[in-house]
């Protein structure tokens, strides 16, 4: 175990360019003669589009066209767009299903003219009843978001399902759960809620498309999975795969949000339609209210244990708001893989998981860092504390008795050779008790001491995540002009340091100086398929490919270019635990929560670039803290009420808790580099650890995120004893309103 972070010897491949402003991102690319596109977006959540009047926009000097769905259909046919489920039009046809959906596009010679003209396009709507609540959407009598969703290409539902079901995932055995819970000594059943959120990357999405001879098109922009975008674009526009080329460019942050929106495909269509380069750049606010957000959740958990506090059975029943379209979700189930794996961390006699995603007339929901897992972990790890309280055992003891050890069978039936649940939990607790200096237990940006009347609490949460065998990818190695080696890879640097890992690993495998290896992302036409950045697969897949590439290079004499295309690996998966301990202080008068410290223990194997690895851990924890305490896109009435970075409230350097990390070293990883995934580990349990700490500090349980001062205040002061902050608040407000009405009618107020 170690608490120190050694400095790496070699700087990142991209460090100097990034530190001097030389790196060119999507928004820094503007081809000669490009037209600028501005999208006319719906202002209502659900409506028929009766008419689009572009005359005022067309009268502006510099506007070359206003493009509608009909224009695109005449050119490209009526294929819908999507990654798995193709249910979303590039521009709304007759009907809009969320506020923010594209209706028309203004093309103009400058961005300013395009944006100004887009504001002059008048859309006439006939408003329809919006569908805003995921639970109600799946119930009887809800208006339909789509007439017949089972008819869409790639649909994962059929006619027997409720008409607003996007996707349903079912795991485990609900009958066995009923039976086991029936004989459990203690059972709790609780419901937890989380809001929608933006991934929070600071680079707004932006694409540039250029027509190429022979009806082909080249596209460059904020794209983390170029080969998948190529496929989506070719399919939607009726082109051959080779007719679409995705060009390389680094990303200014991703966190799941830059994988699958329809706008890049729209941009390609516009370039072909206009036969000119077209640049479609979103403003930050537009990005936050019209791309893809994290799924809001309502998660019911039932969990039971025996008289000694050993877990017996777990049922997780989640309903997610999927928004207007399933198009942005990439996995075959069009569901959230964090839900599929949510019962992984504990020994259980029985479990069942149901994850239903509903169509609503809200912003389409996509992926955000470990999709589904933070929502599930908040619910499950909060419920475990509630169960511990019911059973009269400590939350730590409850978890320690049921975490997996080597040789244990998990709830899904898989036997893990190595599972280090107890070690990881104990490492976190030990570090939390042994802060090197007293101030390391307090938020480092804090200016004043915590007032003595504030209540202190500590909470713990766990998360277990598998590292899958290496996924398909490709690499090419060639001698460069200047005596260096050039390694080409098929996906962008999103910021994680993946390109630096390739350089370091290849240099080590070939025994050359890393300075002599140049790393380049190349166009999709130049390398075989790669599924893109995501699902924590990059380091595992890349390092496996690097090792193959190095052997091939030597076999072929080390002078000619070689390409490797790796298939899916057959290595045994590995399991990582992450344990977090949060310390909070709560102001009993206002409900304000101050998170003093989060200690993270991460179960790791080899660490390739220690500082890059650490930033995945720290950055994840801070994202988890934002999810717990600050961030909410505030989707209300079918509108995003927080469509800017001032109101979304991402954590600042002054906000964040003291972060300390213990690496539980010596684990068995996956692939030749012996690694475990870390990118989607630490952001998952943080919210539950903090909520559990708040519950310990206040004696009240808030089951809805974020843990705002208002929610905590009402949990402390409301009549319902903190069932959820919002319910207590609504009840109190309702009473206040009734009193006010009574006063207005001349009745006496309460004494």
């Amino acid at each position: 175990m170690t608490l120190a972070w050694p400095r790496v010897a070699g700087p990142r491949v991209d460090a100097r360019d990034k530190a001097t402003g030389a790196t060119r991102y999507s928004a820094d690319v503007e081809p000669e003669g490009a037209l600028h596109a501005a999208v006319v977006r719906s202002t209502v959540p659900h409506a028929e589009v009766l008419a689009v009047d572009a005359s005022a926009a067309l009268a502006i000097r510099g506007v070359t066209a206003v493009v509608t769905a009909q224009d695109l259909e005449r050119r490209f046919g009526d294929e819908l767009c999507g990654r798995r489920v193709r249910d979303m039009p590039l521009l709304a046809r007759d009907k809009v299903r969320f506020s923010g959906e594209g209706i028309a596009v203004v093309l103009a010679t400058t961005r300013q003219v395009a944006e100004d003209a887009a504001a002059l396009v008048v859309v006439e709507y006939r408003e329809l009843t919006p569908v805003l609540d995921a639970l109600a959407a799946l119930g009887p009598g809800s208006p339909r978001v789509h007439e017949a969703p089972w008819r869409y290409d790639g649909a994962v539902v059929d006619q027997s399902h409720p008409p607003n079901l996007q996707s349903e995932l079912v795991e485990g055995d609900p009958v066995a759960v009923d039976e086991v819970l029936g004989r459990a000594a203690h059972v709790v059943t609780r419901t937890y809620r989380t809001p929608s959120g933006h991934q929070g990357y600071l680079e707004p999405q932006c694409w540039t498309a250029s027509p190429r001879p022979g009806g082909r098109v080249a596209l460059l922009g904020t794209v983390k999975a170029p080969y998948r975008l190529r496929e989506q674009t070719a399919k939607t526009l009726g082109l051959a795969l080779e007719a679409v080329e995705i060009d390389p460019v680094p990303l200014g942050g991703d966190f799941g949000g830059k994988g699958g929106v329809v706008d890049p495909t729209l941009c390609a269509a516009l370039a072909l339609w206009a036969n000119r380069p077209v640049r479609l750049a979103l403003r930050a606010g537009e990005d936050m209210s019209a791309t893809d957000a994290r799924h809001p959740s309502v998660v019911e958990v039932s969990v039971g244990c025996d008289a000694d506090g050993a877990l017996l059975a777990l049922r997780v029943d989640a309903v997610f708001d999927g928004g207007a379209y399933a198009a942005v979700k990439p996995i075959p189930s069009a569901n959230l893989h964090g839900m599929a794996e949510c019962a992984l961390g504990y020994r259980l006699e029985a479990f069942s998981v149901r994850s239903a995603i509903a169509y609503t007339t809200t912003l389409p929901k996509g992926h955000m860092r470990a999709p589904g897992a933070p929502q599930a972990a908040f619910a499950i790890e909060s419920a475990l504390d509630e169960l511990a309280s019911a059973a009269g055992v400590s939350p730590v003891e409850l978890r320690r008795r049921s975490v997996l050890s080597g040789g244990d069978r998990d709830a899904y039936g898989h036997v893990w050779d190595e599972a280090r649940g107890a070690e990881t939990l104990d490492a976190a607790l030990e570090a939390a008790d042994a802060a090197p200096r007293p101030e390391d237990r307090e938020r480092p940006g804090r200016r004043r001491p915590v007032p003595s009347g504030w209540r202190r609490g500590r909470g713990v949460a766990l998360y277990a995540r598998p590292t899958a065998p290496p996924a398909t990818t490709s690499l090419r190695l060639a001698p460069g002009d200047d005596g260096r080696l050039v390694v080409e890879l098929p996906f962008p640097e999103t910021g994680t340091g993946s390109h630096s890992v390739v350089r370091d690993e290849l240099a080590a495998a070939l025994g050359v100086d890393p300075e002599n290896v140049e790393v380049r992302q190349v166009s999709t036409g130049l390398l075989p398929y790669d599924p893109g950045v995501g699902a924590s697969r990059v380091t595992v897949g890349l390092t496996a490919a690097v090792h193959q590439l190095a052997s091939r290079w030597w076999e072929s004499g080390g002078t000619e270019a070689v390409t490797v295309e790796t298939g899916s690996g057959t290595d045994r998966p590995a399991l990582s635990y992450c344990a977090q301990v949060a310390d909070v202080a709560v102001d009993p008068e206002t409900g304000q929560v101050l998170v003093s410290s989060v200690v993270t223990a991460a179960d790791v194997a080899s660490v390739l670039r220690p500082r890059s690895h650490r930033m995945q851990i720290d950055g994840g924890t801070v994202m988890g803290y934002g999810f717990a305490c600050l961030e909410d896109l505030l989707e209300r009435d079918g509108q995003v009420w927080a469509p800017n970075l001032a109101e979304l409230r991402l954590p600042t350097a002054a906000d964040v808790p003291s972060l300390r990390t213990v690496l539980v070293e010596g684990g068995r990883g996956v692939g030749p580099a012996n690694v475990k995934a870390v990118g989607e580990l630490t952001n998952v349990p943080t919210a539950a650890a903090i909520a559990n700490a708040v519950a310990e500090a206040t004696g009240r349980r808030v089951r809805q995120l974020p843990l705002t001062a208002e929610r905590v205040f009402w949990a402390l002061h409301g009549e319902t004893g903190g069932e959820t902050g919002d319910e207590a608040r609504d009840e109190a407000r309702g009473e206040a309103r009734n009193v006010a009405r009574g006063v207005a009618r001349g009745e006496e107020g309460p004494a």
């Binding site: 600071l202 680094p250 940006g445 801070v622």
Partner: protein, 154 residues
């Protein structure tokens, strides 16, 4: 209107509409190292120095910078090389989109910014979604230490 200024040490003359932001003018002149983020002055990715004061160039009218001494990230290797080196060596970045603003903000720190608490407050107008801030704060402290050494060599 005509804007006369110095940018990164060189004379800079541009014809700018009265409503243009400094960000638009700089990027339009090819200085794309300064990024557009939130456009409402809260994220800090567009931070530049105007007469050694860090400003959000998205909200700063170009006309107001007439006559000013402006430095952007492209000039930092010359204006504040120890800050650039500190960010490179401490790996104070991931995706890099906030990095220009972070570096420019650190370059504007006075000697009164000494410890971690000072740095975290000074940088609280520069968001980062990737790193969790630890390596950025370390880079800033490292840069401050280097600059102290430069001013008063041992």
């Amino acid at each position: 209107m005509k804007m006369h200024a110095r940018v990164n040490g060189s004379p800079f003359v541009a014809e700018v509409p009265a409503t243009s932001s400094l960000l638009e003018v700089l990027r339009g002149a090819g200085l794309t190292g300064t990024k557009e983020g939130c456009r409402i002055g809260v994220c800090g990715v567009c931070t530049v120095l105007v007469d050694n004061r860090p400003v959000s160039s998205c909200l700063y009218l170009a006309g107001c910078a007439d006559g000013a001494d402006i430095w952007t990230v492209e000039g930092m290797a010359e204006h504040a090389p120890s800050v650039v080196d500190a960010f490179v060596e401490c790996e104070g970045m991931q995706c890099g989109i906030c990095t220009p603003g972070q570096i420019v903000a650190v370059a504007s720190m006075g000697p009164d910014v000494r410890d971690e608490r000072d740095v975290r407050h000074y940088l609280s107008g520069n968001l980062c979604r990737c790193t969790g801030y630890g390596t950025i704060v370390e880079a800033a402290l490292d840069a401050q230490a280097r600059r102290r050494d430069e001013v008063a060599p041992a």
